[in-house]
Homo-oligomer: 344 residues x 2
Amino acid sequence: MYKIAFIGFDTVAKGLAEILIEKKSLLKEIYDFDFKVIAISDPIVGMIYNPLGISLEKALYLCKEGKKLDEELGEPGWDSLKVVKESEADIILEATPTNLETGEPGITHIKEALKAGKHVATTNKGPIALFYKELVDLSKEKGVELRFEGTVLSGTPTLNLALHDLAGIEIVEIRGIVNGTTNFILTEMEKGKTYEEALREAQRLGYAEAKPDADVEGFDALAKIVILSNVLLGGNLSPGDVERRGITELTLDDIERAKGEGKRWKLIAKAKKEGGRVEASVSPEPVSKEDFLYHIMGVINAVQFKTDILREVTIVGPGAGGREAGYALLTDMLDIHRTLKGRN
Amino acid sequence: MYKIAFIGFDTVAKGLAEILIEKKSLLKEIYDFDFKVIAISDPIVGMIYNPLGISLEKALYLCKEGKKLDEELGEPGWDSLKVVKESEADIILEATPTNLETGEPGITHIKEALKAGKHVATTNKGPIALFYKELVDLSKEKGVELRFEGTVLSGTPTLNLALHDLAGIEIVEIRGIVNGTTNFILTEMEKGKTYEEALREAQRLGYAEAKPDADVEGFDALAKIVILSNVLLGGNLSPGDVERRGITELTLDDIERAKGEGKRWKLIAKAKKEGGRVEASVSPEPVSKEDFLYHIMGVINAVQFKTDILREVTIVGPGAGGREAGYALLTDMLDIHRTLKGRN
């Protein structure tokens, strides 16, 4: 029976909460994975701490009603730092917002959790893009597990695919469409919308935020290619090492010109190992029909691995969404469980 | 240090042998996977048994020179049944040819190996398509591991992806192009070749056998969709339960007519869970541009999983090849290793 704590309880964590409610008995039955939520800590929805167990149904209900979680037990919950340091949680689910400059508040949560001997699963790109090696070293030193499938392509298996299913294979190049918002905007522009119109449509559908820079300027894709480079190609890149261009300068004229040549603009994130060096970039490129990425439309994402044995292997799936990213935390917990206990 | 034995030493096993030679030290260093080959048994290239260890370099060299393996030690090797029953091998690599009617000789090798308490990794579709549940029960009863990633899409992770990376997710439908030979022939016919010309080209390139029925009549795809259905959808299908049509009746006219409608013929293998029932079929279908499988050309394979949480996840990669299928046996061994020891 794992004791788990949610640090951050926004869309992704709520997506996971829904899945955990639906699948609780299945997870116990098939994977022998049993759990109890003992803390939720979020600056907006509030804090609740109860070592006897918290009802996720109740927590989601309170959020929906716009009520603070604190009120539930009639006593204040623990703040996130107290939870990661002092609670008896076995697994910390870190799902606070990404900050690509400092990695905060995620990096502090993760470090303190690992130091306190707790396993961590996170969807937060900041800490992994900025401090991957440091965090892995710390987790090894402390003998605990760190997982972060959801930092790339939400719950679509990408890191697990490469690390587990492609074990023993050398990945020499990675190339993909790793941001759904920009791919949606480019897809809409192909239909004749201007950049501004397409962006507004993306915002209306909830794919883009009111302040869309993280997506349209390529920062989100940048974080992901840094993570893929460092985790899978053995790179040691910082976000500042990666050439980055977003899609804001693309005009309908550019789109039309590419179309005339049988091509399509895509925001391509790529990384390559050459000699001992890893180089990565994020940039819009006109890609041709023969290129598999040409056919990836809308909010779908895709990552291609060029390998030494299997030539090219491509994974295609959703790159965002509350339940989709929430699932990544579940797959991470199941992987931690399998690592700790052996399967069956 | 695992003691491993090759049962069957044709293209796939030789592909694995090459990989094991190249990666031996890496496998030890990164995955703590160390091995010694103690037996090779094949009706054509011969038999060699040596508990002190067999040089794979030497074995490949003898094969290349057209020499029997038996000659190497100056004494006869053990036959396959003796190896699986009496040798001290920990892992049996079963890579004999597929027989979809009886499952032999693979089924006997696998059963006897499991009964003797040995782990098994196989690329042989026959035993898994015909006797999956029985073999899984036997492996559980004996407390040993059975893996067969290479029975579908060669080394491209498909079963592992679904079982491991998509753990906790419900797969409700599977659809794919799972036979490279027929997809190559259809791709060539799109370029204007007749069926016969395209088949000859496939034979010239080694994609199709002299007697191509297993591929072109859809038997290979049938075996794969039965395996996917039974392993991932909880089905209990026999090959005879599945509607099967091959591509031999497709004419250039059919191809052209589809082209006129913006479509392409593909040999589609699919399976669906509805209520408690699983239904599967293999049949050529005209698919449209919006369908991802439209864009899978040549010998490449693809499988789409429709799921309850991640909508559609698609894996694309090579579906055949000696090294590619040989790798499947390596990924299986590493998975067995991980299951036995827990990851680091």
